[in-house]
């Protein structure tokens, strides 16, 4: 397998109609690259939850994805309100989602916990009134344990 790919995708905050569009695109590209199914699914979930969060809470953002023979790295960086209490935001069930987000079927406070569950390495930094930056790494090699 000759895995090598890098690309960035811009996401517009509040564009609910398009929510998930970029994640579906990225999944397709990685599938064509030959990323194994179980790993592909974890990448897709992490990207999708990140995309939904940028659309739901931020003004705009970028999802950067890089695939090497060893890892898939995802960066989700946005300009927006940021997160005041990161520890709280990471808890399953915690959500500040608006009615609009809930109407679409999201806002159960399971997004960030799900991203953590799908990632081998996860990091989040956020600054109030500036933005939020997620880093997710998923190993392509030595991945014995089936996550998710």
């Amino acid at each position: 397998m000759n895995l090598s790919y890098e690309n960035s995708f811009e996401i517009q905050g509040g564009n609910f109609k398009k929510a998930g569009d970029i994640s579906v695109q990225i999944k397709k590209v990685l599938q064509n690259l030959g990323v194994p199914r179980a790993i592909l699914r974890r990448v897709a979930i992490a990207v999708y939850e990140s995309e939904i969060n940028i659309i739901s809470y931020a003004n705009k953002g970028i999802i950067h994805i890089q695939v090497s023979p060893e890892t898939v790295s995802i960066e989700a960086e946005d300009e927006g309100p940021g997160i005041e209490n990161i520890e709280l935001a990471m808890r399953a069930g915690y959500s500040t989602a608006t009615d609009k987000i809930r109407e679409m079927g999201f806002g159960a406070g399971m997004g960030i916990p799900n991203i953590i569950n799908c990632s081998d390495t996860f990091n989040i930094t956020s600054e109030v009134n500036k933005g939020t930056h997620l880093t997710m790494i998923i190993q392509l090699t030595n991945n014995q344990e089936e996550k998710n």
């Binding site: 579906v24 199914r37 699914r41 979930i45 079927g105 159960a108």
Partner: protein, 125 residues
């Protein structure tokens, strides 16, 4: 069980994917909350839902959901049907409510894709 048999059990219509009705499924997940679908549904399962927006199709595609069954007689908007067609996810519609739909499939051998969530799923402050 094939989608054909499922259509029979649920007296369902096929909205998308007439050519994929030979597909075999063994498990399902029922929810009207996509967040929970994303957190708990497994690849290859049926998704039973009352939601009809395009996000159900994108969510199903992300998770490798086998097929979507709309309950309570819901008819999805064209945009959703087009997306299901494009992403090749069969979509059925039944007039049974979610409880009845799940129950009838369960009685016929379809199992939940997870039985229950872990005791550590939600931690309180």
């Amino acid at each position: 069980m094939t989608l054909f048999e499922i259509m029979d059990i649920l007296d369902a219509k096929c909205l998308v994917g007439r050519k994929q009705l030979n597909m075999e499924v063994e498990t399902a997940f029922s929810a009207d909350l996509l967040s929970d679908v994303l957190a708990f549904a497994k690849a290859g399962s049926l998704l039973l839902t009352g939601l009809t927006n395009p996000q159900i199709v994108r969510t199903a595609s992300i998770l490798d959901i086998a097929a979507i069954i709309l309950v309570r007689g819901k008819i999805a908007p064209d945009e959703t049907l087009r997306m299901a067609d494009e992403l090749e996810i069969p979509m059925l519609s039944t007039r049974y409510i979610l409880f009845e739909t799940s129950g009838r499939l369960f009685m016929n051998g379809i199992k939940g894709c997870v039985e229950r969530v872990g005791s550590d799923t939600y931690v309180t402050l």
